[in-house]
Structure formats: C-alpha cells, structure tokens
Subunit: 335 residues, 2 copies
C-alpha cells in the first residue's frame, strides 16, 4: 500500500515528517510512503534509513508549499505544484491509496473537496477527531471542516462517524450523541431539533442529545456537532492540557516537596498522560471525501506522523471510504 | 442591602441554601437575606443561627418550586407562587436589591426576562461565567441564556462583559475577544464577521478573534460566544474536572506509590484546585436584565451559595445594572 505524505506540512518541516515515514515503514512491512516535497531538503534525511525500509520510501518533487496563514481555498486552487496538492492528486490518479498532511486544516479540507472530491451523496465533509474519554475513544465530528451546518450535514457526520467506528475501529453498534445545551428534548435550536428528527428516522444507534460534560466520560462513541463548536472545543482541550502543564511546572519550581512527591507519582502520571497524548492517537480522518485523507496535528513530531500514517493504513485496509459510499447508497442519504 | 435567595433551588435544597445564607450574613454585616421557599422546611434550619446574623435573615413563604426538568418558560409563567418567581418579583417591586438561585438555568433566564425585565435597549440577556485562567479570571459570555445569536446580541454581550469587568471586578480597559475557529480575519461565519464589524466600530478594547486554546491562558478578559457554544464549553470544563478526578482516584486505588507521593504534593494540588474550584468563584451574573440576578451552580453547597450571595452583593453595591444601562444610553446600542 502506497501512502502519499505531505513532507512539507506542519510546524517542524521535512525532518520530522520524514522521520515519521521511516518509522512507519519500519513498523509496517506492507507500507510504502511517497514523500512529497522539496527533494533537495528530503534526500539528505534518508541517508540513515535501514535497508529494510529504504526500498519502500519514495520521493516526489513539489516546488511549492502551502503555509498555515494562506487563505486555504485560494492556495489550493493556485498553488498547483504545492506538496499538499500533489499528494492529493496522487489519490485522485490512483497512484496513492491515501494521504497524510500536518499542514493547514483549511487547505486539507479545501483540497479534499477540490482535488480528491466528495463521495457521491455527501454534501459536506467532516473532520472526525478521536478523543480519549474515561473508558473509550469517542469520535468528535466535525472539528472544523464545515463551520456552519444544515441538519443533513450533521446527519451525514453521524453516518460517517458510525461507519468509521464500526469498520475501522471495530466498535459494535456505536452510540451516537448530538451535542446540545441540554439532554432534554426542548434543548437546542432549530438545527439540532431538525437534525434529531433525521437521526431518529435512521437506523443509527442514536441516544439523543448529549451535553459537553458527558464528553470526557465517553457519553457516546460518536459525538456530532457543527464545525465551529467542535473546533473551539478541540482547541480548548489542547490549550487546557498545555495550561495545566505550565501551572504544574510553575508550582513545581517554587516548591521542594512536590519534587519529592513526583518521584512516587511518576508511573501513575505517565499512564494518565499516555491515554491523553495526541502523539499516540494519531491522525484525524477527513470523512466524506473520496479517498483516505488524514490530517496530523500541526505540531506533530516523528512519532505523531507515524501514528497518522498508521491511521491512514487502517482506514485504507478496512475500506473506510467505500464503506461510507455503500452506506449512503443503501438509503443513508436524506435529501 | 436585602438579597432574595431562592431557598428551594439547586440539587441540595434548603439545607445548603439556608446554610449559605447564614454564612454570608455572618461575613457581611450590611447584608440581609430573604429566604424564599417553604417556611415549614426553612424554619427549623434557622435554629442554630448566631444572634448577630439572625435579625438579618427573613423568611418569605412560597408554595411551589420549579424543578430542573420543567419547560422553563412555561413553569415561570404558570407557577406564580414558585420560590424563584417570588424572589424575582421582589426585585421588580423594589423590595430586594438582587436575587440568587441555584435552580434551573432556563427558568432563571426566562424569569429574568419575564419578571425582572430587560434593561431598555438590550435585545437578549447573557450569562457571563467567570472562568479561572492561568493569570486572570476571564468572563465567558454567553453560556446558555441565548442559544443562537444575532450579531447585535454578541455585541451587547461584549459591552455588558466590559462593564462588569470594569465596574464590578475592577479590571482596567478589559480586553474583549470574539471566540472563533481561528484568529485570522477569514475565519468564522457571517455571524462572527458581522459581529466583528460592530466590535470594531465601538470603543471596546477589542483584540479580534480568539481561539478555544487561548481561554485557559486568559487570552482576553471577556470572551464572547453564542450561548450554545458557551454552554457546551462550560459543561465540558466541569465534566473534565470530574473525569480527571475520577481517573486519578481510580489509579490511586490501584497503586501504593502515588499515595506516598500525594502526601508531598498535597499543598501544591490544593493551591491549584483552589484556583479552579467553582465554590470560590461564586455565581454567574445574568447580564442584561433590570436587576442583579445571580445564578449559582446547581450542585452548590453552602459555601458556593455564600459565594454567589457575595457576587450579588458586589454587583449591587457597584451599581452593575445602572452602569450597563448608562453605557447603552451613551450610544452603546447599534440598532
């Protein structure tokens, strides 16, 4: 299986993306990765690759790259030689089975729609992020692909999240919750009420409205919301982790006793941290486009890039895209 | 100053609300509290009150109460003898300077609009919750009074948050951020873009779009959003606190070493917890209604009820309501 990797995407550039690709090829003997980007920058990074992986790592030259602060749709249209666009074209042409990028979310979504194309019947794509909860991994969808939604968008996010949980993550009959400002029927606005009607008429395992407070407890396997809300929530989660870390460090430097205590607590804290660390969780699938497109965190280092490639490999090998397409053609559409 | 307390509101009933009122009256010699509720249930709870506070605690009988699961607007309209409605009528009649309730958010908002009435010029009220951030207290407004907003609603939330921070909390020239899915100008939807234009034309210290990740770091003194988003975020914050607590407890019971470590870390953890504990933060002002209406957390025990009464006392003594009204009449309205 060949996956295209946008080697120029993300905050740490080709050094980390290429190291992640090498790591993934050493881990999965069936995996080939095309490093799409500036070959002059990439080639020196491949010197130390073990011979077992080297033959499965390829280079595809791209003259341009899309930066984080460019208007994403325009960049995707005009930068025809950008690493992200070329990686996506490799899906479209059938050369690559999927692609991974740690680049701009907006550009990945725009490219997914413009270059890879939508699955027939899908109105808008959704980014579904796997979130660690107390007793499970929940998918929060959408976290920023579709800022404002119509009821049918929320319904299709639910449907795609359901397929992803079943086919790719192996969760039986995943529960679906609709994020609202209260569990009661009367809560929410017109969008939520109309979406709920669509969910009810479907064969989804729909458990009704869920509240923000339920997410950390894994109230549902799939939690559906508009992209604006999901994006704010996801970034809040990341920010909170960083803020708590900085607070603990600050308190730590001011006092002696916690340093002693920490020695005893380290194994426990490591376990808890391991559950919540995005480096282990890997990438965020862009669901609804006609190919396996996985977004990695912008700050991804090698390990996180490797995890994102693993997610893409799973998505491809478990036929995620065709499963969504089948589900839709079997009456999943509501329009 | 007389404050009306909905003695029947909240998960723990009159025992905790009355204890909170006693605590507050012992703390503030200028404070009188009217306990509105079932006097048969309240009277026995006042037996042990110190003589210094007893003369400032009054009882006002209410035959009914509004429960958490009633449709709030209908309950507020029809239950004319409910403790919450009577407490709010005491503001309207001028008997009470403000009121506090740990009851249903929806009923408090409905009562604020129907019974207390809006400040002239205010289109919709906003619940502004003080959130602890790394280096300050930020106000997140709205967290559920107005589920979906027009641009003018967001603008008025900003204006009211600004007045509250300046007049009540003493923050000079509070910075105002508009919560969006990215800092860039192109981010957001029509609502956010139109609201941003209103913010720009005003004299507010507007710093532009802010992201969810900035909130824990105190990116702005006032963070403005729609009620749906704010409510989901606020409940997520509360749920995360509970989930982390339960995870740590679980890990703790499984291992011996952390118990030893905890002895050393306790002072540090207590300090961090103290900063984030809602019991110390007190209540959430319902801004935009023509009186000091403070919502306490539904799970409030005596200490949190006491904090909410302190918040109401500050709001009244610093003329929060008339300051908002003046700000509006000085050209704050945009319609």
């Amino acid at each position: 299986m060949l996956l295209a990797l946008d080697a120029m995407g993300g905050d740490h550039g080709p050094l980390e993306t290429c190291s992640g690709a090498i790591m993934a090829c050493e881990m999965f003997p069936d995996l080939e990765v095309a490093l799409v980007g500036d070959t002059a920058a990439i080639e020196p990074l491949l010197k130390s690759v073990s011979s077992v992986a080297r033959s499965r790592i390829h280079m595809v030259h791209a003259e341009e790259m899309i930066s984080m602060d460019e208007p994403p749709a325009a960049a995707m249209r005009h930068k025809r030689h950008s690493s992200l666009r070329i990686a996506m074209q490799m899906i479209r042409s059938g050369e690559a089975a999927g692609c991974v990028s740690a680049g701009s979310t907006g550009a990945i979504v725009a490219g997914g729609v413009l270059v890879v194309g939508r699955i027939p019947g899908i109105d808008r794509p959704g980014l579904g992020v796997p979130l660690p909860a107390v007793d499970r991994i929940s998918m929060l969808i959408d976290v920023g692909a579709t800022v404002r939604c119509k009821p049918v968008n929320l319904y299709q996010f639910a449907l795609m999240g359901d397929v992803y949980m079943r086919k790719v993550l192996g969760v039986q009959s995943p529960s679906i919750g609709l994020l609202s400002n209260g569990q009661e029927e009367i809560k929410g606005d017109e969008l939520i009420i109309e979406a709920r009607d669509l969910f009810r008429k479907s064969s989804l395992n729909f458990i009704g409205n869920v509240e923000g407070g339920g997410i950390p407890f894994g109230v549902a396997d799939v939690v559906v919301c508009e992209g604006l809300t999901g994006n704010i929530l996801l970034k809040f989660i990341e920010g909170t982790g960083e803020a708590i870390y900085s607070l603990i460090r600050e308190e730590f430097n001011r006092r002696l006793l916690p340093k002693v205590g920490m020695v005893f607590m380290l194994p426990m804290l490591k376990d808890i941290w391991g559950r919540f660390n995005y480096e282990n969780l890997g990438g965020t699938p862009l669901l609804g486009v006609n190919g396996a497109v996985i977004k990695a965190h912008g700050r991804s280092r090698a390990k996180a890039v490797c995890s994102a490639l693993r997610v893409a490999r799973d998505f491809v090998s478990k036929n995620g895209v065709s499963s969504i397409a089948e589900e839709l053609s079997e009456g999943g559409t509501m329009e």
